[in-house]
Each structure stands twice: as C-alpha cells, then as structure tokens.
C-alpha cells in the first residue's frame, strides 16, 4: 500500500495546493474590487470597468453620467464601429454612458454568459441577438418589446428595413429586436483560374446550367482545382436552390417540415449531382478541407458564400486581388436568396429599461446605420444604409449582396432550429456521401424533424 499512498499523497497535495491558490486568488481580487469601490466613490466608470472586467471592455460617454448601460457584442472586428456608434449616442445623450462588453461567440460562450446572467437576474441591458435564439428568449420573457421605443425614435420598421428581416424578430406581433445587419449570398470567383482557361467571367442573369457549364470548363482535378464546391451548407448553398425550385423547409405555422416535397429534393439533388459529376470535391474531402479554405488557397474557381465572408476573403493575401463576385444564378427561371440577420435586443429585467430601449432603437436609426455601413464590415439593415457596404469596396461587385435583400427569403428558424439543422445534416450527409438515396434521406429527416416540431408545439 505504501507506494500507492505515496503517489496518491503527492497528487493530493498538488491538487489541494492548486485549490488553495485558486480560492485565495479569487478572494483577494474580490477584496481589491470592494476596496476600490468603497474608498474611491468618485472613481469614474471607465476606470472601474477596466479594473473589474476584461481589458477588451470599453466605455463610451461622460464619466459622471447618471444612466449606465451595458451592451454585449460578440465580434471583435465590429468592436471599433460599435464604440463609434455608442460614442455618437452618448454625445447626443450626455446623461448616458455605455459599457461595451465583448464575449466570444465560439463554443457558445456568448449565449452561456447571457443566459447565466438572465438566470441570475443580472444580464447586460442591450445585446446582439440572432434568429436562432430570439424565439426561445421571447418565450422565456427575457426580452422587452421594442415597438414603442422604435416609434418614439422615429423608426418605421415596415418601410425602413427589409421585410424578411423584420419578420424574423416580430413574434406575436411585437418586435423583440431592432434589425442590425443582414447577410445574403452570392458567388465569388477566382479570375486567375478563369483567365488561365480563357473562360469569360459569369455575369448577372446567369442560370444554374450556365454555372455547371463554367464548372466543367474550369474543372482540373488532376491539379487539385475544382470548378465549384458543394459543401453540406444549408444557408449558403442548398436552401437558396430549394426556394428557387419552389420547395420549402418549414411551413409558416412551424408544424411541418418540407423535406418530402419533390421540389425541395430537386433543389438539393442538383448539388449532389455536382459531386457525382466530379465538378465538386466529395463531401468527405470538403469536411477535411472546407470550401472556403480551398477558395482561399486558389484551388476553387467558384464558391457560394455569405456576405459575412467578404472581410475574410479580402484579408487573404493569396486571393484578395484575383477575386470578384456575381449574384446567385437563377434556377428554373427563379431568383432566390436566403437572408439572415442580427438584431439589437433589450433585457426585460434591465434596471434602466427605458434608456436601454431608447439606445437600441437609436442604433436602428439613419445616423447609427451609416456609421456601421461605412465600416464595410457588415451590411447595415436599413434600406437607406445598405449602399455603404457596397461603396466600401468600389472595385468589387458587392451590390450582388445588397441588391438581394428585397427578394430574399428569411432563413427558416424555430425554437428547435439547432436540433433540426443537426437532424437535417445527419440525414443529408448520407445522400451527399452516396450512402443513401436523397428521397430516403429526406424521408428520414422529415420524420425526425416533424417529431421535434410536434414536441415543440405540445
């Protein structure tokens, strides 16, 4: 027993020492924070927020402001522009200061923190919201309706924003998010690969068949170059063609899925055909090396991509000077595009509810949306501010994205959306991988999704 005890004792000591260090560190920092607050009552808000939270946080506004709002976001790339917008707001409203908190989206950290804050009754006043979560949050009474605040701020939701975007944040006839930005889809192409084969670039008004023809001409698998990629990506790829083919994913009542509709399957099958004809890498290959990675290393002639990919492509030294984009090709004579977007929401338990609502509504106004749009990072949701995104890169045809908001279809979401996406991917990957017919895979997806919807509506 001696030796085992020996090893054990060492480990135990180490573990206990670790705990001791951790707890004492916690208590000492807690103590420090209290002391600061206790002794320097006049400490301004930016100082105390820097000391108390991570260095990424910033505060806009007068240090003597009477109303302090916290505002949580997840994208570090957008922090500077959010700061600029908050600064513009606090300049007009000197009694308000805004503390911007950055929490990473990756690994669900943002939502975990937000939900834990709400569970404890102490969440940020204003925060970014997405369509995947909004229904669950409204259902749990965590969000404040913003219709009145929008009216006070002079927003005309129906006239100022794309209809599809407004519909996603309107639940039970009340607005729970002021539209912030949106993303649509387009096709990027590598001009160098087109030039090498002497093929003309695609132009607006092209069709799916045109795209397949181009892919055939550009395909060069022996050199690792493919004409197009067919990743298992719903929002960027096959939902667009499903809608163009007249198919559907979720009915308006959110009671039934549309996978069994032959038109839905038609819109998916054309992607699988690209793989079967060798114009796209296989699903396994695209799982190992993503379509984006291939495009960014010059191995892919054309790629379907959301507007949020723009900064990444333009930051890439290998391809940034060789690429341009064009609107999605029509299928069967129909034009379709999937739109999704973020909103600004307000915590219903906010201690400064009125001020929080006023700030959220102001963020949807013309001035804020112009600042956001001119940053070129995202497309501002307001109809009158969409142009700034396209104008931020005059050499590129970014209008392929911004022009499509009016005709776009909202990304289908529900309270069980994350599960439905998983169910869908788990079934469709069998069809993409050639292990099951698409009809069978869709039947499986429909059965499981309908069960999820039935449970949700119970």
């Amino acid at each position: 027993m001696k030796r085992f005890q020996h090893v054990n004792a060492k480990l135990l000591t180490a573990a206990l020492a670790g705990t001791l260090v951790m707890t004492s560190a916690c208590s000492s920092s807690g103590q420090a924070a209290t002391t600061t607050a206790g002794t320097t009552a006049a400490a301004n808000s930016s100082d105390s927020s820097n000391a108390g939270t991570s260095a990424a946080d910033t505060t806009a506004g007068n240090s003597n402001a009477t109303t302090k709002l916290s505002f949580m976001i997840w994208d570090a790339n957008q922090q500077p522009v959010m700061e600029a917008m908050a600064a513009a707001y606090t300049k007009e409203n000197p009694d308000v200061s805004i503390d911007i908190q950055l929490t990473a989206y990756k690994g669900g950290e943002y939502w975990t923190k937000l939900e834990a804050g709400m569970a404890g009754g102490n969440a940020p006043d204003v925060f970014w919201m997405n369509t995947l979560h909004v229904e669950n949050y409204v259902d749990a009474d965590m969000l404040a309706p913003l219709d009145d605040a929008a009216k006070t701020a002079g927003l005309d939701l129906a006239a100022d924003f794309p209809e599809a975007l407004v519909s996603m944040y309107k639940i039970n006839d009340q607005m729970y998010g002021i539209p912030k930005d949106f993303d649509t889809n387009a096709v990027w192409y590598n001009k160098e690969l087109f030039d090498a084969k002497g093929v003309a670039y695609p132009e607006a008004g092209w069709t799916w068949d045109d795209m397949v023809d181009l892919a055939k001409q550009l395909n060069d698998p022996d050199n690792g170059v493919y004409g197009i990629a067919a990743p298992l990506d719903f929002q960027t790829c096959y939902y667009n063609t499903v809608f163009a083919a007249g198919g559907w994913i979720l009915n308006d009542d959110k009671t039934q899925s549309g996978y069994n509709d032959p038109k839905t399957q038609e819109g998916i099958q054309i992607w699988i055909d690209l793989i079967n004809e060798g114009l796209s890498p296989s699903l396994a290959s695209l799982t190992d090396t993503s379509a984006d990675a291939m495009f960014e290393s010059g191995k892919l002639a054309m790629i379907w991509a959301g507007s949020y990919m723009t900064p990444e492509y333009l930051d890439n030294e290998v391809i940034k000077d060789k690429i341009d984009l064009v609107e999605l090709p029509t299928y069967d004579g129909n034009e379709a595009n999937v739109i999704n977007g973020l909103g600004y929401s307000v915590y219903s338990g906010s201690k400064n509810l009125e001020a929080a609502e006023a700030f959220a509504a102001w963020m949807g106004g013309a001035e804020a949306m112009k600042i956001q749009g001119e940053s070129g990072v995202v497309i501002s949701a307001r109809n009158d501010a969409q142009q700034y995104f396209a104008a931020s890169q005059p050499s590129l045809n970014l209008k392929a994205y911004t022009d499509k908001a009016a005709i776009a279809t909202a990304l289908p979401v529900s309270k069980v959306a994350s599960e439905m996406y998983d169910v869908e991917a788990n079934s469709l990957k069998l069809a993409y991988g050639g292990e099951m017919s698409l009809a069978d895979a869709c039947a499986q997806a429909a059965e499981q999704s309908d069960a999820l919807l039935a449970k949700m509506n119970k």
Binding site: M1, K2, R3, F4, H6, V7, N8, L16, T19, L20, M22, T23, S24, S27, G108, W111, T112, E115, A116, M118, A119, N136, A140, M142, G224, P231, L232, P281, S282, L283, A284, S285, L286, T287, D288, T289, V416, S418, E419, D422, A425, N426, K429, L430, Y432, G433, E435
Partner: protein
C-alpha cells in the same frame, strides 16, 4: 504530545483552537463545497427536472431517464465510448511502460527524452486535436503523403466509420503516454536495487528481472495509472469534438457520451436531460472504479 495526537477530534479542544482549525481548512472546504459538492447535488436534482436555458427548473420525475434509456443515441454513444476506452487504455499503459523502462536505463540524453515524452501531457487538447486533424487531412495530410511514398493511396481518415475511431484513439494514446510514463517511471525508481542484484546473482536476465521484479513491484503504480486512464477515457470529449465535423460520415460512430451531454446541454439547451446523461456517465465510471478496487486485491502487491 502523544496524548494530544490521540485525542478524538472535538472531544476536548477549546472553542478558540477549533475555530483556528476551521479557519485554516476553510479556503479548501469552501472551495470544494461551492464548486464541487453543491453543483454535484444540484446536478442530481436537475436530472429529475426539465431545465431551460435560463436555469428555470420544473420537476418531472423520471422522464429524462425514460427518454434517455429509450433513445438509440445513448446506446450508440455508450458503445463508442467503451470502444474508445478499449482501444486507448491497454495500449496507452503498455506503451507508457515500455517508454518508462527505456528511460529508466542510464542512456545519454535521458532527461531530454523524458521532457519530450511528457510534452503531450502539458499541451492543450484543442491544440493537439488541431495538429492531428491536419496530419489526417485526406487531401493534404502528412499521413497520406507519407503513405504515398510506399505507393499506398490514403483515405479520408476522419470521415469513414471504419477508420475515424481508430484515428481518434491514436491521438488519445499519444497524449496519455507521457503522463502515464512519468508515474510509472517514478514507481520504477522507487524499486530497491537490491532486488535486481539478488536476482542477477541467481542468474536472472533482463527480461526475467522485468517480469518478475519490475512488474510486481510496480503494480501499485500500474493500478493508479489504470484507474486514472479509465476515468479520463470514459470522459473523452475534446479530441473528438475538435476533430470530427458534423458533416463527417463518421460523426455517429465516434460520438462519445460526453459529446452527447454537451450537445444537449449547450447546443439544444436541454439542461435537465443533459444532467441525466451526466449522471449516467458518473455511474458507469463509479462502477468501473469500484470493480477495479475490488479486483486489485488479486494482482496489486504492496511492499
């Protein structure tokens, strides 16, 4: 002095003395109570509740368990987890033993080798997974390039049910050998040289010494390594989560129990159901650890 040590706790201390005792253990006890004991008990309670994203719970009795034991996913994940344990634990300990035996000899550059073998143990699992993911990459991976030298065409290792679990297990073994090696090495160095001298005088060779002295004398360390490896094997998560994408055709055949727990708790927001899954994992680990403690009486020799 003797009487002070043998006095039963609480029987004759002055209150002030006892307070000092409590004061000194308080940081650890409070830490354990707040961060381990309370969440553990709360987790048991949650497993009988429906708990939403915002931690609002309503008691539903055994419904979570009924649903869990009725789902094919649970059995698939259990099978996958057992397969992973079976693939990694025996081989991981066996290889660690060989490495420890080699490093126990007085070779040149011994401490450099010890450091190298221990490196995976102090590397972040996420970083390990990312590097191995590239090694296994079907298009540009080092492994396939290497096989090409011998005219063997590679595969999409992480995308085929036949290979994905083995590929993940290799990473698991690679990352556990270092830690196990250090424990075993410490054990080996604690074996008195007099045993070996006596055996050599009686004409025993190196192999005989290893099997008849090293292994029996090392059995407490082996037991310790076995217990910790089994526990971490049953809790496998990081490598699989990082390496196997949702669109991989091997996703179902590599999903571990902790993955199932994670997905329900953090992707879907079913925290009550996820609590039930975590209790299930806890019971499995508890059972295996108990079996080990009973069985060790047969094979672990203490001096």
């Amino acid at each position: 002095m003797k009487s002070a040590l043998t006095r039963r706790p609480g029987s004759g201390y002055k209150l002030a003395d006892a307070m000092w005792g409590y004061f000194f253990v308080a940081p650890v006890v409070i830490g354990l109570a707040v961060f381990y004991a309370f969440p553990f008990l709360q987790n048991i309670y949650f497993s009988f509740c429906e708990v939403d994203r915002f931690n609002r719970s309503s008691f539903i009795g055994l419904d979570n368990y009924r649903e869990m034991f009725g789902s094919a996913e649970l059995y698939q994940s259990t099978g996958n987890t057992f397969l992973y344990v079976l693939l990694t634990v025996p081989l991981g300990i066996f290889l660690a033993m060989i490495v420890a035996a080699l490093l126990n000899s007085k070779a040149r550059g011994q401490s450099a080798f010890r450091t190298l073998y221990y490196l995976p143990a102090i590397t972040m699992p996420a970083a390990i997974a990312m590097v191995w993911k590239w090694i296994y990459n079907g298009n540009y991976g080092v492994l396939n390039e290497f096989l090409k030298l011998f005219g063997i065409s590679g595969r999409n290792w992480l995308n085929e049910s036949a290979t994905a679990m083995i590929a993940v297990a290799v990473v698991g073994i690679w990352s556990m050998v270092g830690y196990n090696m250090v424990i075993l090495l410490a054990g080996m160095q604690g074996i008195s040289p007099s045993y070996y001298e006596a055996a050599q005088i009686d004409g025993a060779g190196a192999l005989a010494c290893f099997f008849h002295i090293t292994i029996p004398m090392l059995s407490p360390s082996i037991f310790f390594v076995l217990i910790t490896s089994l526990i971490s094997g049953f809790q496998v998560f990081d490598t699989i989560y990082m390496m196997i994408g949702k669109t991989s055709l091997a996703y179902e055949s590599t999903q571990s129990l902790v993955m199932l727990f994670y997905r329900n708790a953090f992707d879907y927001g079913y925290k009550g159901y996820a609590s039930a899954v975590s209790i299930y994992i806890f019971v499995i680990i508890l059972l295996f650890t108990l079996i080990q403690f009973v069985a060790q009486k047969k094979w672990v020799h203490y001096e």
